[in-house]
Symmetry: C2
Subunit: 296 residues, 2 copies
Amino acid sequence: MVITAYLDQKREEVDRFLDSVVPDARTPPTTLHESIRYSLFAGGKRVRPILAIAAAEAVGTPTKAILPIASSLELIHTYSLIHDDLPAMDNDDYRRGKPTNHKVYGEAMAILAGDALLTLAFDLCSRRDLLDGLDPLRQVQIIHELAVGAGNLGMVGGQVLDIQSENKDIDLATLQNIHTHKTGMLIRAAVRMGAIAASATPAQLERLTSYAEDVGLAFQIADDVLNVTGTREQLGKNANTDAQRGKKTYPTFYGVEGARTLAEQCTNRAISRLETFDAKADPLRELAKYITARKN
Amino acid sequence: MVITAYLDQKREEVDRFLDSVVPDARTPPTTLHESIRYSLFAGGKRVRPILAIAAAEAVGTPTKAILPIASSLELIHTYSLIHDDLPAMDNDDYRRGKPTNHKVYGEAMAILAGDALLTLAFDLCSRRDLLDGLDPLRQVQIIHELAVGAGNLGMVGGQVLDIQSENKDIDLATLQNIHTHKTGMLIRAAVRMGAIAASATPAQLERLTSYAEDVGLAFQIADDVLNVTGTREQLGKNANTDAQRGKKTYPTFYGVEGARTLAEQCTNRAISRLETFDAKADPLRELAKYITARKN
């Protein structure tokens, strides 16, 4: 299979779906919706939704419900970027080649756009009109996965550890702890949400969870490497910011080449978790490779 | 019935429950959980959870599920206060007689504590271990009520309108629009969530929704009046801040006495919505009166 064609197709499906459910910029409060759309449609790769879709495909039960479920992950991801970029947090001026949300709409609106996106993710996952084919108990479980992955013991917890570690001499265990939570837990939720939507068996869910944990780690190591090796043009945001901020990353501990090797090992381990799955899991296998090899 | 005894008892139940489900300050990330607890246990009146509990009682089907459902509303309410108090928003230094969250923990942690509380509300509502007696379809509906009430077309939308209206010469319709969303929609969600948890009939739900809309308006008018007439000691925050900020409120349009009369009319209308309910709706009736007569 050609992963780039697969990614393009799924990304378009997710974008079209998000465009259909997120209020347009003429819906009051207009500035809020304009601000939400500014960040939501800024060219994101939709990695988390596509992981959810590919996990459902691997299980093999296609379901109409997967698109709303998958897209909710992008609402969470976008909110986290808007809040992370705020002056009180990472104070970033650029994201995906454009000024950050608060640079355009101001801090108050950026905070509220993030709050609204976070809430909208749960709004979307709890709709019955779009998800009437989904067993309600599975729907509740999916919502719970999203909340756990995004919350105090998941993504938000990781962001707390991250800001507390800036300019500190952290060890490798702390770095791993940050990444497991900040990036890993939402990627884990993405794969599990897709699998649960597709009625995965407990054994399938367990294997897919291990896959997700390996992929999450590979993703973050690759991100750290890109921060060192990428250009501003490739990344759409300033490059080499980690070193400037005195932030310890995988390249700090392993060097760039060592970190690359580590990411590849994670990718291979992720793929090996899928050995009991047939060709319907090929998108997941290719996604694991893409995540390490990507250039932005 | 004696409403103060009822309020005390329910508030203690909600507090005890929240204390049991929110991680303690020794759970990593410790500062996040300390910051969450600082604002969550600052002496809130728990009006929204108690409205949910009283609505369930009015329907007459007691359910163990009501406490988690009701308490989730306080997680949303607390997050909204933390974010509203931020320097980029209302820039308030005091809340419930204590320094605001960002004054103690810094802006970054206050933003993240709010994000975590918002997410935790949906975590709580989507738990099956605590809510195994609840029909999953009703659980999904309850989660959806919470998301709609708190989100872009609910509470967050109202907060956007509110910050956009500061120092502007808004008319009465705009003021009502702000309040319907900022305060009204979450109070409406509270009553509806309680009613749905207690398996309300469509007719019961409709009447309780009208009750909630009237109570929500009474609540906000009473809040506006208190901002003018209350002291810093009574309110636990600075008094008369609306006038200082050039904010138009119900007393601006109706005068203090006129606004008081309007709040009482809303209260009476709310109570009249309950005429088909028996004595089990007395807590709702007394709550409507309390909300207008309260001194903080």
